[in-house]
């Protein structure tokens, strides 16, 4: 399997720039495995990303056309490319800060337009690249380099946000749920219309270190404990659900297209 994946990676790039244990590396592998599972020709794909650690997932690693843009604007660049050449299968992979804060307006408008983009948001609940500042996705109370006394604001529920804006297929999984995540990526690849997958992708370096989750295994364990599939969550009380992250798929799912 690992050898089979090599065809999707640029041989001239020796390694990824991610910290050991970074969730983004796992997500990188899962995106490629999903593409492999569907037998999609990488020449049909265009990967667009913004700025941040997450934006380095496709660029320069993927052996395909990649467009590494400015901070927050990946979806807008992708919109132009997709509208002009609808034959391209366009996937946007970027961070939570990139897609939901500086780029939040493009996210909701692309969902409203229902343009056929497969958006994957690598959510580490922090601005990783710039040193761990608070993001629009940082949990209430978390310590960050710009909220030394704890984050006073509530985070976005990105899936609800995108659904409310008109996104017909949204999903949320953690990189600690690889099979479910791959299923959703595969669905989004064959879904015609705007799709959005929020991927909990841990950053021990910038988020964990300030929130008692300072090693990759610790933050992975935390995710495994706190990410609950929506089917399981249905039986739990509000108290039991406090601080839990509900994962799964929402919205209309079309199969067999694309």
């Amino acid at each position: 399997m690992v050898r089979a994946m090599e065809q999707y990676l640029r041989s001239e790039i020796p390694s990824t720039p991610f910290c050991p244990g970074c969730g983004h590396g796992i997500l990188l592998g899962l995106v490629l495995r999903s593409i492999h599972a569907l037998g999609i020709d990488m020449r049909e794909m265009l990967f667009v990303s913004g700025i941040g650690c997450a934006s380095w997932i496709p660029s320069p690693h993927f052996n395909a056309d990649t467009l590494h843009t400015t901070h927050g604007r990946a979806i807008a660049f992708a919109t132009g490319a997709k509208l002009y050449n609808p034959k391209l299968r366009v996937m946007v992979i970027s961070g939570d800060g990139d897609l939901s804060s500086i780029g939040g307006n493009h996210l909701i408008h692309a969902a409203r337009r229902d343009i056929d983009l497969k958006v994957i948001c690598a959510n580490n609940m922090i601005y990783g690249m710039t040193g761990g500042q608070v993001a629009a996705t940082t949990p209430l109370g978390s310590t960050t380099s710009t909220t030394p006394l704890g984050n006073p604001d509530r985070p976005f529920d990105l899936c609800k946000l995108v659904q409310a804006a008109g996104g017909r297929f949204v999903a949320r999984h953690s990189v600690t749920q690889p099979l479910a995540l791959m299923e959703s990526i595969k669905k989004s690849l064959s879904f015609e219309g705007f799709s959005f997958i929020e991927v909990l992708s841990p950053c021990a370096t910038q988020y964990g270190s300030k929130n008692l989750l300072e090693s990759a295994p610790k933050i992975m364990e935390w995710l495994m404990e706190n990410c609950i599939p929506r089917e399981e969550a249905e039986g739990l009380s509000p108290e039991e659900l406090e601080e839990k992250i509900i994962t799964g798929e929402w919205g209309y799912v079309e199969t067999g297209t694309g």
Partner: protein, 380 residues
């Protein structure tokens, strides 16, 4: 690819158009098939006409959520193979700046039409100004070059837009049509000729899309979906697009090449128009709508026997320093009337050997010929 001659989409003949409509027709004639924009006075007529015209011919029109996304979509479409444009005015141009720098750094052909209004800030939205000359050149961070044209008539809004697309495709550079409210809303006769010369970006399989040995030469530009595994990035990159963000040599080479590819080719880009220069004692250096008032004023001054010359900048960037320098050796003064606080006058001072007299009017109104006449009389 390269130069080709095509039939003009509109039947040849005389039309009565506004400048902003002529921009749209010029764009269609040049092969523009993607428009992404956001409404703003005094440029919206271009957008509305593009919505209509691209719909007729199977192009793509999208009204984006703001100007940041408008220029982003234009750049995305350009890499997907489109000749692509946007049109805006000052506030929108300010929002586009980061991505214009991105387009310059990634060598993305694209057209930005800026119909200047009286700024700063919201200023006088419906009134004329030309305060964006420096922003067009220097508005994004870092050192880069762009090309900018300065049309003075409806005819030049049409011809100049075609030219702008050809420059953008040929030099892989963001190219501006720096109009102003007066020329955008001016209505006059436009002559459509039967043929249009257009340039299409060059492709060459496997060759590095972001480097060339000879800095005058423009690297080939492949398109997404052609199997070229394109790596497009706004980070410092080598010839193949691979990030080299800590290599001083790569960064220095890239920045120099992006500047050189325009500056070393400026003979081919820079364009001026001159009348009554030979014996002139004072020459009026002008551009955009103000050049119309200037020409009237200069003719009147000549009729009264004053040795006044006229030099119009049809292109503003790269700035025609060489020509201004030559001109300044034969005259006592260069007089520069502008609807800003002396942006071009300041630039002209860099190369002028004689005194440069700046005349600024920033009241949201065009500079009238009699004002120019009187002001020139004072310095004669």
């Amino acid at each position: 690819m390269g130069w080709r001659r095509i039939k003009a989409p509109l039947p040849p003949g005389r039309y009565y158009f506004s400048g902003n409509e002529a921009v749209a027709e010029g764009a269609i004639a040049a092969g523009c098939r993607f428009y992404g924009g956001y409404p703003i006075t005094p440029s919206s007529e271009t957008m509305e006409r593009m919505a209509h015209r691209l719909g007729q011919i199977g192009g793509v029109f999208v009204q984006m959520e703001d100007e940041l996304s408008s220029i982003a979509a234009v750049i995305g479409a350009s890499w997907a193979g489109a000749k692509a444009m946007t049109a805006t005015s000052g506030p929108g141009l300010s929002l586009m700046m980061e991505n214009i720098g991105y387009a310059a750094f990634t060598e993305t052909p694209c057209i930005i039409v800026d119909i200047q209004r009286a700024g700063p800030a919201t200023g006088q939205a419906t009134r004329v100004g030309s305060g964006d000359i420096m922003q067009a050149k220097w508005g994004s961070h870092g050192d880069y070059q762009i090309i900018a044209l300065s049309p003075w008539s409806v005819q030049e809004m049409y011809d100049g837009t075609i030219r702008a697309f050809n420059f953008a495709e040929r030099y892989r550079v963001p190219t501006f049509v720096l109009g102003d409210e007066a020329v955008g809303h001016l209505r006059e006769t436009l002559e459509i000729k039967p043929w249009v010369r257009v340039f299409d970006r060059k492709k060459s399989r496997g060759r590095p899309p972001f480097d060339s040995k000879n800095p005058r030469q423009i690297p080939p530009m492949p398109t997404f979906g052609e199997g070229e595994n394109l790596l497009v990035t706004g980070s410092t990159h080598d010839g193949h697009g691979i990030r080299r963000t800590d290599d001083p040599k790569v960064h220095s080479r890239l920045v120099r090449r992006l500047n050189d590819k325009i500056l070393l080719n400026q003979q081919d880009i820079v364009d001026t128009e001159e009348f009554f220069i030979e014996d002139a004692v004072v020459t009026v250096l002008c551009y955009g709508f103000t050049a119309r008032s200037t020409l009237t004023a200069v003719k009147e001054l000549r009729e009264r026997g004053h040795k006044v010359g006229f030099m119009r900048l049809k292109t503003l960037w790269p700035f025609p320093h060489e020509r201004v320098g030559q001109l300044s050796q034969g005259v006592e003064k260069i007089f520069v009337p502008e609807m800003n606080r002396g942006q071009v006058a300041g630039e002209a001072m860099k190369s002028s050997r004689c005194e440069v007299v700046s005349f600024c009017q920033t009241n949201g109104e065009i500079i009238r010929p009699e004002v120019i006449r009187q002001e020139v009389m004072r310095v004669l």
